[in-house]
């Protein structure tokens, strides 16, 4: 299609925590520096920078991209921020891919940072104004409400129980015990999840990811540069993104069509025709446990309504046929919005390089997919990586 090949050649992640001592620019620096060191590059080798971060209202800093620029190494460089809500963390490397695939540069640093702890009493206050100001805001909605509506519709459509959903939280929180950045890794059991505090039926406390501070970064390079830097480049084989209307009440809540469209775009570019057979490891976006199932289906990794059964049968465990969220996901590692999506891309990168340590899945995986989602049940962002 006329695109140049683009590889990931280095990655860095800070710890994900409830409240970091570091500022946003300081967290951005720590992730960026680690990624550059791993790639064996200096900042002067970086030609362009792209930064992803969620709404300004979380940090309480308008022009957050500009505020984070210095820590992301962006001073006096071609630098730009991208933003598609919760989908940002996977869109940011897609944005970086555009820079390198187009030939605009050979080396691009991609940084994602989020400092949600600034927002008091809770980031839900900032989420309030993503809803329609006339028809929905007067009801004082929280994100948990609308996800409860979506989760119930999904469960009813396919006849799923709460336990069918909760198994995802158990898997991911346990997986996260092996992730050095993890904030809420826990050896929870199915009963723990089912018996945790009810927030908005059917959503319980342990069904959801926490608010977090954290940052992540990757270095992208053109084919020639990547082959010079490493004998283990991981290629960005396909990218896709898609947005549906913000009038979320018009959508089929049981199926994320926009994720499917984004996935089909990425698969076509990657030459993948049978994703459920060709993809060996996946990081679907899991801010809520049911979302992992929802997204497995949207990513065409299984038939609609089948994801819960596959989870119950261990198909998605690290030792299963298709491990999902071997990192521990947003549910276990934590959810500093934009940084979470990039953490997922980094997990696939590490898995394909067989550098995931205790989290390494068996079988020398060669193809993986990472996906993020967000806004008002509205955006899907998908990236396919190949070793």
């Amino acid at each position: 299609m006329g695109f140049r090949k683009v590889a990931i050649v280095g990655a860095g992640i800070t710890k994900f925590v409830r409240r970091a001592q570091e500022t946003g620019p300081e967290m951005s620096y720590l992730a960026s520096k680690t990624a550059l060191d791993q790639a064996g590059l200096k900042l002067k080798d970086v030609e362009m920078i792209t930064l992803g971060s969620a709404p300004d209202a979380f940090d309480g800093v308008h022009m957050k991209g500009e505020y984070l620029l210095s820590g992301a190494g962006g001073n006096n460089k071609p630098y730009i921020r991208n933003f598609v809500g919760g989908g940002t963390g996977v869109f940011a490397p897609i944005h970086g891919w555009m820079h390198v695939a187009s030939g605009a540069c050979d080396v691009c640093l991609v940084v994602c940072s989020e400092k949600m702890s600034s927002c008091h009493p809770h980031p839900q206050g900032a989420f309030l104004t993503i809803f329609d100001h006339t028809t929905e805001q007067p009801l004082k909605p929280t994100l948990i409400w609308i996800f409860a509506l979506e989760m119930r519709r999904y469960m009813e459509t396919y006849g799923l129980s709460k336990a069918d959903i909760a198994r995802v939280a158990v898997k991911n929180k346990n997986n996260a015990l092996d992730h050095p950045s993890a904030q809420v890794a826990e050896a929870v059991t199915l009963d723990d999840v089912l018996n945790s505090e009810v927030l908005a039926e059917p959503v319980h406390r342990l069904d959801i990811s926490p608010a977090s501070d954290g940052a992540a970064a990757v270095v992208l390079a053109s084919e020639e540069v990547a082959k010079r830097l490493t004998d283990k480049p991981v290629w960005i084989d396909g990218v896709g993104w898609n947005l549906d209307t913000a009038y979320w009440a018009t959508k089929d809540l049981y199926y994320p069509r926009y994720v499917e469209k984004a996935a089909r775009m990425a698969y076509e570019m990657a030459g993948i025709t049978e994703p459920h057979k060709e993809i060996q490891v996946a990081e679907p976006y899991d801010p809520f446990d049911y979302k992992e199932l929802h997204h497995m289906e949207g990513l065409l990794l299984c038939e609609r309504g089948e994801a819960a059964r596959l989870t119950a049968e261990g198909f998605t465990a690290r030792t299963g046929n298709l491990p999902t969220c071997p990192s521990g996901g947003a549910l276990g590692v934590g959810n500093p919005i934009a940084a979470t999506g990039l953490m997922k891309v980094i997990e696939i990168f590490l898995q394909l390089r067989e550098e995931a340590g205790k989290r390494q899945i068996p079988g020398k995986p060669r193809v993986g997919v990472a996906q993020a989602w967000g806004d008002l049940m509205q955006v899907g962002t998908v990236i396919v990586l190949r070793r």
Binding site: Q21, E26, K42
Partner: protein, 156 residues
């Protein structure tokens, strides 16, 4: 192409009132904590010093903006600097007129990148770019580790 204003008075429009119901607790950060602790405890400014390329920066950073190496060296630079620019302000951010105009300056320090913006307690007729100025701090017992620990800058 211009468009015609069909409604002259804003109040004729149907509307909902709303707000974003949050407030913020900003983190001082690693380098910021060092700066404001030094200001509070020792009554001095500190700059960060890059041990790789020598760049000195105020406010201090944990990384060098030039060579991107980590920084763990901080240097006391006292309270005295040079006036780099100044302005006299008559309106506050809501458009209300101040009882007494506010005089603000950007103060820089020799050999150091960056500077401090703060109030000046200097007669307007005496203000001159490049003049030596010094921070007047609150008494140590009243300092809380914020930018308001500096009352103003004055002539040396």
């Amino acid at each position: 192409m211009s468009f015609k204003e069909s409604i002259q008075l804003n109040m004729e429009l149907s509307y909902f009132e709303g707000q974003i119901p949050v407030n913020y607790q900003y983190t001082l950060g690693v380098a910021g904590t060092k700066f404001f602790e030094a200001l509070k405890q020792k009554g001095e400014f500190i700059a960060s010093v890059c041990s790789h390329c020598g760049l000195k920066t105020i406010y201090p950073l944990i990384y060098c903006e030039e060579c991107f190496n980590p920084i763990d060296t901080y240097l006391s630079i006292g309270l005295e600097g040079e006036l780099y620019s100044f302005t006299t302000c008559y309106l506050d951010y809501q458009g209300n007129r101040y009882d007494k105009p506010h005089v603000l300056g950007l103060i820089r320090f020799k050999g150091i990148k960056g500077g401090i913006i703060h109030r000046l307690n200097i007669d307007e007729k005496d203000l001159k770019l490049g003049m030596k100025v010094k921070a007047k701090l609150k008494p140590s017992k009243e300092r809380t580790g914020t930018i308001d620990d500096i009352m103003y800058f004055e002539k040396v």
